[in-house]
Amino acid sequence: MKKEELTPHVKDITRALENKENEVSEEEIEQELIEAIEKFEMTLSQAKRTIVKKHGGRASDLRTWIKLPLSELKDGDTGLELLCRVVYSSRKQIAGKSGDTKEIISGILGDGTTTRPFTAWKTTGVELNVGEVVRLKNAYVTDWRGEPQINIGDFTEIEKADSSELPSYSGSNSSGAMVEKKISEVDGSESNLGFTGKVLTVNRRTIVKDGAEKTFYYGLIADETATIPFSAWKDFSLSKGDVIRVEGAYATLWKDKPQINMSERSSVRVLDEDMQTVAPDFSLAGAVDSTIRDAGKASRVNVKGRIIAIEEREITGSSGTTRMKKGLIADETGKIGFTAWCDFPYKRGDALSISGARVKPWRNRPQLNIDDSSQVSAFTGELPSIEELDRPTKMDIDTILRQSGVIDGSVDGVVVDVKNGSGLILRCPECGRVLQSDGTCSTHGEVDGVQDMRIKCVLDDGTGTVNVVMDRQLTEKILGMSMDEAQKLAIEKRNFSVIQKEVEKKLLMKNVTIRGDVLLDDYGLSCYATDVSFLEVDVEQEARKLLEEVEA
């Protein structure tokens, strides 16, 4: 330590001893101070106290605080002046000695040399908000789990400082206080952590905090020993698959599990290399293993399935045009829609293991969202063939209602009602809506209607009902006549509704099987049928089977 730096402390000791009988000269004090620090390897703080006491003074009379970087703090230091940033801060209740509770603030302070845990033993009027730079005067250090901990006591002053006062941190200067660990060794207590890992997933989320928008990043990182969640309040430009060297991170516990946090004082470098990691543990991101049928019960899932439909879409939104893929994936329990917002080079028939997919509702049905926070790989285990999976899921209507709909379902039932507006209809050439009875469009007024056919009916299977709409093609299939033929018949009979009568003849009270997505809305279940066929029932065989069950 330079002599000039000691001068204020020499004066401080002298002042603290001012009214003592034996006057001690500044020169003597300076000599003693240098000896204590250099020969006896005391810290400045310890040395000052020792000298004041030796000459009959009191340490509490010392007034010149010792300015130290956090990396140089040692257990037992007192009278410190620390310029640091609040990295993390939270108020908590702790049990006092006599069973009462006491409020404290604890968290992490950092200054560019390192981060250190702190505890503020007074809380009234104390504000230590994350991100703020503060100057602590008369702070002291104790040992906590083998590490120096900063204490803010009753006599510690807290001054707000300008954030420009704190030089920005460069991680490579990180002091020896940084601990290097493998991810499996991280226990949540590390305040200055160094590690190397691979980014498995990364998500971005913007939140509004104290009226300001803040963006943070979170995801999963793994090394060869374990997977761990991370969060970062700074954009380190992390991408999925990056192998990164991180220094000056700190760890905390989140729901009793360790988590790594990267702050402005952390240095993150992307290494130009790959890394073998353990099998990623997506349960840390809240993902649960699920069948496709039950995916809707979780918010994040790991599923295995085969793509049975996929198409590329371009979506133009406020932030420009995005390319994405959309499709259906199935396992032996059912099908689910998915959207992929990341590189997704797969095709129909591919068997995939998708980890950490987010489950989001779409038209009341769960859908998988696959993005950079998910991991997709080829699945080599057992899965039914594409032909087997590409069949609709047969269900009764009550079951469909209970699960709020089904994708590509198949329902057997009786057509108990054919609605008006079935048969030949005219549509608006502009919007495609069916024209009103006076031949006008509710939006476009008088238009030349375009001929179309459809059927609107109610399917009832004894457990529930579905409103079914069939398009022109299916209507032709039911009627056994083309739209042209239907039109001729209507003209011949001078009545367009004759085709609805034909539909009733063919469909009403009939047992049919319909296929399509069955969705739930405010009017109950509805289905745009993709196929319809008349149900064939082997009455004798089924009656015999049922009779056996009854008589058993």
Partner: protein, 291 residues
Amino acid sequence: MKAGREVAMRVFAGEYRHATREYNDGGERSPSFLISPMGAKINRLFVAGTLTEVSTVGSDDDPVWRAKIVDGTGAFFISAGRYQPAAASVLSQIEPPQFVAVVGKGRLYSPDDSSHYLSIRPEAVKVIDQHERDIWVLQAARGLKVRIEAFQEAVRMETPDSKELISLGYPEHIAEGVTLAYQYYGEPDFETYQALLIRGLKALLPEYKQDYELEPGTFEEEEDEVDEEFQRTFLEMVEELSTGSRGAEISSIYEVGKKRGFSREDLENMLHYLLENGSLYEPQLGRVKIT
């Protein structure tokens, strides 16, 4: 989110005729249901069988078509007037016997505590073929089987509870129907309904068909075996009890008939029979008059 339109229950006539309790949950727009002792919770029905009789009542200007449909376990009565134009139109053109299917709403008429008349107000009537009728019998049997099983579960519980039945996998309307039926009627006569179920299924199988014929014609003969003596006595009773032009009160016919040694069931059946064949008509609710 709503379950949508009320489901059409497939119920045998032999069960429907005992659905003499009404249930409404009291909600502003809640539908009413008829509850059968075996737990069918009926707002709408889908039934099929042989239409054996059709007749008109009411005036020429405002005719009401009535029809009787038998399913081998009993008969359904339907009537369609000007508010059921689609069904009335079909009934006006039909020539019995025919296999028909009917979708409609269940109706209970109880002039007094002990008389219950169950009918169907049809929304749609259609002539079907035998195969389609057979499929209906199968579906009705399947539905009854599920309700018998659900009811057997329910009576094993300390207090039958619809939530518990739902958790066992039964559809909500069955779970609720069974719980309500237990409250209204207590434990059902399982054997009777089991027999009804077996009867329905056996009628579909050639090896039993002789014993359980559902065809039109044969069933009619059975129905026609009416005790003429009883018929005459009944009509005399109606005449006796008639006051002026208003006819006789049905409840007093039952009362007097009972004193003369006829069972309530026989009296009800005869009343239905005579109403159906046109010997009697109802000038007003709860009263009958000789035509």
